[in-house]
């Protein structure tokens, strides 16, 4: 009874295949980067051992204001790729009062850190709304919160945006994809990460961040970050 699909449904299948290919490509590139980071870290530890240094731990955290020299997903193969191929739509979350969803762009900085930028999603692009409620797509060299997630297990960032409507946004990457508990002003929400372990929590108003925490499980251990 199904037979050959008519033109509109046939075209929709091709577009979905392209979207799936973009999603798989992003996952593959991030996984490659994580493997590379692990290899480099292993080499560093070995060299440190030879030099008789013990208990060396490397923790690097930075806020990359320059952004990546080149997004790792810029040269995706699909000629009809969405405007923002680094967008991880699986972690998108609705705004508390409606309108476009909030989403994350995951990318690598020029020095190999895992970075994440937050914004609203419109037409497959990540961007922001200005005071006049005009959508402006984020440029490729946007800044983001960056960290070596393969090492730390949990990257967390928070923003308090007063315009166009006051919002408190907590977002980041949970390496193992385990549920993330976000507590702000005594109110706790549990968020299940989407692709690449990315997560977002959006709340109304400009919350008091003193005492705010984010926790998740990494390699069987509880990891906690304080936001204020």
């Amino acid at each position: 009874m199904t037979g050959r699909l008519p033109p509109a449904l046939d075209d929709l299948r091709d577009r979905l295949r392209e979207a799936a290919a973009r999603d798989i490509e992003i996952e593959r590139r991030v996984a490659e980067r994580v493997r590379g980071a692990r290899w480099r870290r292993g080499l560093l530890v070995a060299l440190a051992g030879i030099a008789s240094f013990a208990g060396v731990a490397v923790a690097q955290r930075a806020f990359d204001r320059e952004g990546p020299a080149r997004p790792t997903v810029r040269d995706l193969p699909s000629p009809t790729a969405a405007p923002d191929p680094g967008l991880v739509a699986t972690s998108a979350t609705a705004d508390p009062t409606g309108g476009p969803s909030w989403g994350l762009r995951v990318f690598a900085s020029s020095d190999g850190l895992d970075c994440v930028a937050v914004g609203r999603i419109s037409g497959g692009a990540l961007g922001t709304y200005d005071a006049s409620r005009t959508f402006r797509a984020l440029p490729p060299r946007v800044s983001g919160a960056c960290e070596r997630v393969a090492h730390s297990g949990l990257l967390v960032a928070a923003q308090r945006r007063p315009l166009p409507q006051p919002r408190t946004i907590v977002y980041g990457l949970a390496r193992d994809g385990q549920p993330v508990r976000i507590t702000i002003a005594g109110k706790t929400r549990t968020v299940r990460p989407g692709g690449l372990g990315s997560f977002i929590d959006v709340r109304r108003g400009l919350a008091d961040m003193s005492g705010a925490t984010v926790t998740t499980t990494v390699a069987g251990h509880l990891v906690r970050r304080r936001l204020g």
Binding site: M1, T2, L5, P6, P7, A8, L9, D11, L12, R13, D14, R15, L16, R17, E18, A19, A20, A21, D23, I24, E27, V30, A31, V34, R35, A81, A82, P83, L87, A89, T90, A92, A94, P100, S101, G103, I121, S122, G123, G124, A125, V149, A150, L173, R175, D176, G177, R192, G194, G195, L196, G197
Partner: protein, 200 residues
């Protein structure tokens, strides 16, 4: 993240959804396997091919976004998971009177306008000809303004803008009247109308 991917890869490799985590063609095959049933499901309930295809597109866009959350191991579970999404979207459409398109927008999917071949396919799949007679009988159970909107849109197949001009209102109001009227009719008809379709 690599560990996360390995965890996903272990979950139910036998299903197309599980394979689609690594192969884009598997998601295309998943779509091909179910699109006829999903689109017919919507056409039989909203009686409007344009609305049905928008809801179908959103269903598969959400399935693509959420496929890592699927924990089943069989095609039966896969199908149930997909239709749970479809059912949720249909309920939202009836409740709000508008079509949810958030996932379609996030993925940057733009669907083609429907042509004659599309309409014929959707009508055939859903058994619309057999359905129209029963629909006409059921119009008495809905409010007169909703019945008039359904008659114009579903039975006479006129454009929303044209109907809105006749009623001196906006297309959005007409869409809301149609969706809410159809929900009332479905409550009245129950499963009888869908059982009848099985014989069509």
């Amino acid at each position: 993240m690599a560990q996360l991917m390995r965890t996903h890869a272990r979950a139910g490799e036998t299903t197309l959804l599980a394979r689609s985590l690594r192969e884009a063609d598997a998601f295309a095959a998943f779509y091909t396997a179910y699109v006829a049933r999903v689109s017919a499901y919507f056409v039989r309930r909203v009686f409007d091919p344009e609305v049905a295809v928008d809801l179908t597109a959103e269903t598969f866009a959400l399935a693509l976004e959420r496929r890592r959350q699927f924990r089943g191991h069989s095609t039966h579970e896969e199908q149930g998971w997909l239709f749970a999404i479809a059912k949720s979207l249909l309920q939202a459409y009836w409740r709000r009177g508008r079509i949810e398109q958030a996932a379609v927008a996030r993925l940057g999917l733009e669907r083609q306008s429907l042509g004659t071949e599309d309409f014929e396919y959707l009508h055939f799949q859903a058994g619309m000809e057999a359905l129209r007679g029963r629909l006409a009988q059921a119009l008495d159970v809905v409010r007169p303004d909703q019945a008039a909107a359904i008659r114009a849109r579903v039975l006479e197949e006129r454009e929303y803008a044209e109907i809105a001009a006749d009623f001196e209102t906006t297309p959005e109001v007409i869409r809301a009247r149609v969706s809410r009227g159809l929900r009332t009719m479905q409550r009245f008809l129950g499963d009888k109308v869908y059982d009848a379709l099985a014989d069509a």
